[in-house]
């Protein structure tokens, strides 16, 4: 998931060649791309809203005001609200650790951060069942102490945390590695306290990367289905998140309500896309600046 951050000011390699491509090649290609996007992305998205509003705004609002739907929305928001701060703390500390220090197990840590991307979400969920389930490793102990983890809200949050934790760490790490620690060193040398250096130098330098990670992390936290489905227990009004609620409503032939809840998730996706676009632009700027400043120093 460590996508290369697009460069804002860099010219597209081969840009000139693209312009020289004859029109009969260019236009069909553009047509195919847009046709594909329209068919597989825009149309389904439009269908979600069309279905949701098929019986009017009143029914749409009623579907969202249903206690079980409200509870699903609430749980989804709660999950994201807990997952995001923890991911920021974890992401910043691990990225900083990896970028600034050489230590035993560093390579292992980098690999482990990527693990949730490599594992199927269903397996992630099952891991928690194996750990915390009544027949699992520490399930009997938990039961003895009356602590419910899976098939309850903590399980949903844990599973979400597991599948989302690479996002912030990955984004911050690549930027930190690119920037190096010269500025921090300089700040400390000039007599800034550790505290001041962190808030004035370290954090501002990576703030766009953190935000970028957060927005991806949020989208995944709210949309996660597989892992959450395994640990949720599907108790209506209790442990269902929005994606699970959509499935239930759909299976109950309650299509309007299913698409109403789905439309909220779709809106979230659209907002995510826009914010992501803005952040990518800012982020490319940061990376570019970092590069230029290093060049300046070495020159």
């Amino acid at each position: 998931m460590a996508q290369a951050v697009p460069r804002r000011r860099a010219t597209t390699p081969g840009g000139a060649r693209a312009r020289n491509t004859p029109a009969w090649v260019r236009w069909p290609l553009i047509g195919v791309s847009f046709g594909f996007v329209g068919l597989f992305l825009v149309m389904p998205m439009a269908a979600v809203f069309a279905e949701a509003f098929r019986k009017g705004v009143g029914v749409y609002m009623d579907s969202l005001r249903d206690p079980d739907a409200l509870s699903a929305i609430w749980l989804t928001v709660l999950t994201a609200a807990i997952t995001l701060p923890l991911n920021i703390v974890f992401g910043l500390s691990s990225a900083w650790l990896i970028a600034r220090f050489r230590f035993a197990g560093r390579g292992l840590l980098i690999t482990l951060i990527d693990l949730p991307f490599a594992v199927s979400p269903v397996i992630s969920g099952l891991i928690f069942v194996l750990m915390f389930g009544l027949q699992g490793w520490i399930g009997p102990w938990l039961k003895g102490h009356d602590i419910q983890i899976i098939f309850a809200v903590p399980g949903v949050i844990l599973a979400t945390l597991f599948v989302t934790f690479p996002f912030v760490a990955r984004e911050v790490l690549s930027l930190m590695q690119e920037q190096g620690d010269d500025q921090e060193q300089a700040a400390l040398m000039l007599g800034a306290s550790g505290w001041k250096t962190f808030w004035r130098v370290t954090l501002p330098n990576v703030k766009w990367a953190v935000l970028y990670g957060v927005i991806l992390c949020n989208a995944r936290a709210m949309g996660e289905f597989g892992a959450v489905s395994v640990v949720s227990g599907h108790v209506r009004g209790r442990t269902n998140t929005m994606p699970l609620q959509v499935e239930i409503l759909y299976n109950e032939y309650n299509f309007v309500a299913a698409f109403a809840v789905a439309s909220l998730l779709t809106l979230l996706a659209l907002v995510t896309l826009v914010v992501k676009g803005v952040l990518e632009w800012r982020l490319a700027g940061e990376a570019q600046d970092a590069e230029e400043s290093t060049k300046g120093i070495t020159a």
Binding site: S71, W74, L78, I82, P85, L86, V89, L92, S93, W96, R100, V129, F132, G133, L134, Q135, G136, G139, K143, D146, Q148, I150, F151, V153, D181, E184, Q185, L188, M189, S193, G194, W195, T197, F198, T202, G233, H234, V235, R236, G237, R238, I248, Y250, N251, E252, Y253
Partner: protein
């Protein structure tokens, strides 16, 4: 030089996370707290509409007879999958599953209720019964009339996976029972018949509701093997002008059982309500709700009233033909059992 920064960063991050965890733990109990007693009914797939109606009636009934305010929570899914969740710690006060073997599994694997649970309530702990029928597309274009039409080449059958779905196991056993009857109780012939039937199954969903959606919504298959109640629900939801119900010459008496999960109710102090809840299923009002949702009622008076809903089909029981659920489960559906031997997933 960096060590000063290290300390600061470490302290800040630690501080932030401690504050955060403290905040969450204090705020967490503030999320919607219900003063009412909650009862969790873990059920199988097609009972969603039944328990939606029944729970409303029960809450009113319990209050009217001097009890506390109750909120009944529901969880639905394939019967085997739901049993697995209860075994893994889903805190069900009552389980209302598709077949006895799934509750047996909870008793055996998690010891949450005694082995003799099924004798604690009348009628094998099954307040309502059902059977397996066929749903076909309007006008029955493939002319499916009975079980033997299902093994013909070119017929596409939709049924859920017997490994995870209770309804699917009833489907399988109903077909097996039919084949036994028509082949002089020849087990080998029955096995061939069921193997041929499953050759015509293009996809196995994990629960009955998934299969219904596959058949009715996505338009796959010529025949859906379905619970009788689910078949009527399909007609109600999608319109009687789209689907016909075909009643086979013989089918199985499906007894979906209910039980209290002793360890859970004793821990949560909900035994009295849970008992009241299950008892209410046997009451006249409970039986009426079952009948209205196309589950065959046990109570004679209600059965007579709704006789029009339920065509009479010769029904055999699992005890008669298979020697009970424990045996049927071990022979047919256990790992490497008959089903595993005869069913090869189609590689496409």
């Amino acid at each position: 030089m960096l060590s000063r920064l290290t300390h600061t960063v470490a302290r800040t991050l630690l501080g932030v996370s401690t504050l955060f965890v403290a905040g969450v733990t204090t705020l967490a109990p503030a999320q919607p707290v219900h003063a009412d007693t909650e009862l969790l009914n873990v059920s199988y797939d097609p009972t969603r509409e039944l328990y939606q109606e029944f729970n409303k009636a029960f809450v009113a009934h319990w209050k009217a007879s001097g009890g506390e305010s109750v909120v009944v929570r529901q969880s639905h899914g394939g019967s085997g999958k739901q049993a697995r969740a209860v075994i893994d710690g889903l805190e069900a006060d009552v389980v209302t599953l598709a077949l006895a073997a799934d509750i047996d599994a909870i008793a055996k694997n998690a010891r949450l209720l005694p082995d003799d649970w099924q004798s604690r309530l009348p009628d094998n702990s099954s307040p309502y019964t059902s059977t397996i029928v066929f749903v076909v597309r309007k006008g029955n274009p493939k002319g499916v009339k009975d079980w033997n039409d299902l093994v013909k080449p070119g017929i596409s059958i939709i049924t859920p996976n017997p490994k995870t779905s209770g309804g699917a196991r009833w489907n399988y056993l109903a077909a097996w029972g039919y084949a036994l009857r028509n082949n002089g109780n020849d087990e080998g012939k029955a096995r061939e018949f069921v193997a041929a039937l499953f050759k015509n199954v293009p996809v196995l969903d994990s629960g009955a509701r998934g299969s219904t959606t596959t058949f009715a919504q996505r338009g796959l298959g010529d025949v859906l093997l379905s619970w009788e109640n689910e078949a009527h629900l399909i007609q109600k939801e999608f319109g009687a002008d789209k689907f016909d119900i075909v009643i086979p010459s013989v089918s199985i008496l499906a007894e979906p059982p209910v039980a209290i999960v002793d360890k859970v109710v004793d821990k949560r102090g909900t035994r009295k309500i849970a008992e009241g809840y299950l008892k209410f299923l046997y009451s006249e009002q409970g039986q009426e709700i079952a009948a209205r949702n196309f589950y065959r009622p046990r109570l004679a008076s209600v059965a007579t009233k709704y006789v029009g809903n339920f065509p009479s089909i010769p029904l055999f029981t699992i005890d008669e033909v298979f020697g009970g659920w424990k045996k049927a489960q071990a022979t047919h559906f256990a790992e490497k059992g008959v089903f595993d031997q005869i069913y090869q997933p189609k590689s496409k």
